[in-house]
Symmetry: C2
DNA sequence: GATGTAACTGTCATTTCTTACAGGGCGCCG
DNA sequence: CGGCGCCCTGTAAGAAATGACAGTTACATC
């Protein structure tokens, strides 16, 4: 029974729970950002954070989500990143600002789900640099946390991205060969059906996926893990 | 200095190293399977295993890679799977055969990389079922192992799938909007260039990606993580 | 100044896709 | 048996993509 003002499960709620765990690992702040793959041109982003409110305001105001070197790194690699106030490679003004809010030393781990969703877990603190011993001790835990957060966040209302009407076997086949660059004629030969029927199935895919054309249908099916 | 008969780093070599670790966790056998996303219609599969040779022969002979419920599960979900001789939901003849080779109890963890590569780490043994305590104790380690194997295996010669010639900024932009279902005309409006120029960039993408048409170019770029 | 790269624009012929129309056959299930 | 889902096929017109031709402009580097 939801009470007045009870927003239900949310990313922020998850992150508040996460904080209790990361605090035991010796970090003051933590955040989790999940970028879902759709819509393709402007992916949906969900996040929660326990960083200082003033820093968050600043972060949103200057659209740092698009610029943050950490986020860029997470999208481009599977490897964890540790940063300190000396390890500044790009955007020095960004790091200076972060420092001014007491975010001096941190650690970020990314996770990738089967739906191409990308998650980024970050923890940070003011004083102690992240030691080599700490890295070895906690890397596994952080990976585990990132993985768990990813799984839970993907289930949150408003975050899940599933297909209403599932594709039939034939539809998946036809779309798969389309993704492989085959024309309707070629697919007809491969599947031993007329090219007209191939077109028919592709059109059903386009409709079911809510796509504008074959290319978008293939892209959506790929990121939804249907192929 | 490679010696005669030295095949260099290989998946089987990685798995042999993995065995030393999983043996400490109490499992006789282990395997790792990595499915790379390209080619789209017939993804490349690389694997190594310490399961009994007779079982492997049987496995390959009957094309179990396509049928194995564990593999199906790994491709469809992010969750780990534990199986015992009683937890048979599909393909009973498959599980019976596995048991006949002493593969009674096992555990599988999947991992997903940013390039849509899917890895599956399995460990198994003959006698002891996997206990709840063991699950709690080792889930983190197995996830870590799967993640590490994924990273290392992706670097093996013959496994890595990278693009020779990188896409320019404009090319990525144009391809992204194509993936979002926009026509050349629409993209021209969005980017404030002529539709002819949009076509020009798309053609370069098609050439660089070695694709047959726009649809395949988008699909390849997506699975390569270029968008 | 020369070189190279990225971005940009045009026309034209051909191929492919997209969308609309109108159906038949098959198997499953209530 | 009727309904439903899936699979299959045809025609035709208009929209879009493809491929090959031939260029200009801007910018960074050497």
């Amino acid at each position: 029974m939801a009470r007045l003002g009870d927003a239900g499960p949310s990313m922020q709620g998850l992150v508040l729970a996460l904080r209790d765990i990361t605090a035991d690992l010796g970090f003051e702040h933590c955040s989790y950002v999940l970028r879902q793959p759709l819509p393709i041109a402007q992916p949906a982003i969900h996040w929660g954070s326990t960083y200082p409110q003033a820093w968050l305001d600043r972060y949103m105001e200057r659209n740092y989500l698009e610029l943050d070197p950490l986020v860029q790194r997470a999208l481009a690699s599977d490897l964890p990143v540790v940063w300190s106030d000396r390890s500044i490679d790009r955007l020095p003004e960004f790091w200076e600002e972060a420092r001014s809010f007491g975010i001096n030393h941190g650690w970020a781990v990314s996770s990738h789900g089967r739906d191409r969703g990308v998650g980024l877990l970050t923890v940070a603190r003011r004083n102690e640099p992240v030691s080599a011993h700490e890295l070895e001790q906690n890397e596994m835990r952080l990976l585990w946390l990132a993985h768990s957060m990813h799984g839970m966040a993907s289930l949150l209302p408003g975050v899940a991205q599933a297909l209403l009407e599932p594709l039939s076997l034939r539809e998946r086949e036809v779309l798969l060969w389309s993704a492989a660059g085959k024309t309707a004629d070629e697919i007809g030969l491969i599947l031993a059906i007329s090219s007209r029927t191939v077109t028919f199935h592709i059109n059903r895919c386009i409709a079911k996926l809510g796509a504008a054309n074959k290319t978008e249908a293939v892209a959506k099916a790929l990121v939804l893990g249907l192929l």
